[in-house]
Symmetry: C2
Subunit: 132 residues, 2 copies
């Protein structure tokens, strides 16, 4: 398979597929003319990576997961640990974002949004750091 076919099948841009080869996530064969020649297994791995990236796993997590996927003697605990850790990070991020949202939402609501210069948003940004 040429890179375009794999791109169409996995939804990954050709650029990204080349990049994944560059960072040693996949190792497609080469034809005599220098073109990459993807096997079904390569395509499968790329679909795996695409899904893992969609779920927000980092490239390094993806590398680990792909390794576990190909290791028939893996322990599911190892996979779970990677996913649980990722879940933790997402939960942390969610809490941070939620807090941010609440603050911002309050400020936006408090701002008249008219032609006058007075603005609670700017007042908040300019205020001194929390005392104490």
């Amino acid at each position: 398979m040429n890179i375009k076919d794999v791109s169409d099948r996995t939804g990954l841009p050709a650029k990204t597929i080349r990049y994944y080869e560059d960072i040693d996530l996949i190792h497609p064969a080469r034809r005599n003319n220098g073109y990459r020649d993807f096997s079904d297994a390569d395509c499968h791995k790329l679909a795996f990576l695409s899904r893992a990236r969609t779920l927000g796993f980092s490239i390094e997590d993806c590398r680990t997961l792909l390794g576990l996927y190909q290791d028939e003697s893996r322990a599911s605990a190892d996979v779970r640990a990677v996913a649980a850790h990722h879940l933790d990070r997402i939960d942390t991020k969610l809490r941070e974002l939620q807090e941010l949202r609440d603050t911002l939402s309050g400020l936006v609501s408090a701002c008249a949004g008219d032609n006058r210069p007075d603005c609670p948003i700017l007042r908040d940004l300019a205020k001194n750091p929390e005392p104490g």
Copy 2:
């Protein structure tokens, strides 16, 4: 003021302060020896930037907000628009993250996390893209 003093007052690392000068957010004076010489106004601007970055505004948003802050004839509507747009992006991000969290959480719960290789997480990652 030297950069260290400003760093201590604003909580921004000296590196970051230099970076902010580099991208033209601030323009501190220079002494004869080449050292930056920060005024109270510079310090104030940096505190403003620090707070704005904490609220997740992009550097370009910060640039706009700082401009509005210094423009006595601004309309609060302009400030509000920047903040409202940012809030929108945060809401979108929150929805995406929440969806991600739900999927991941389900997968982690479904995984036994033992010594056996069978794993619903890997099954999900390896599955074919949604048909239809």
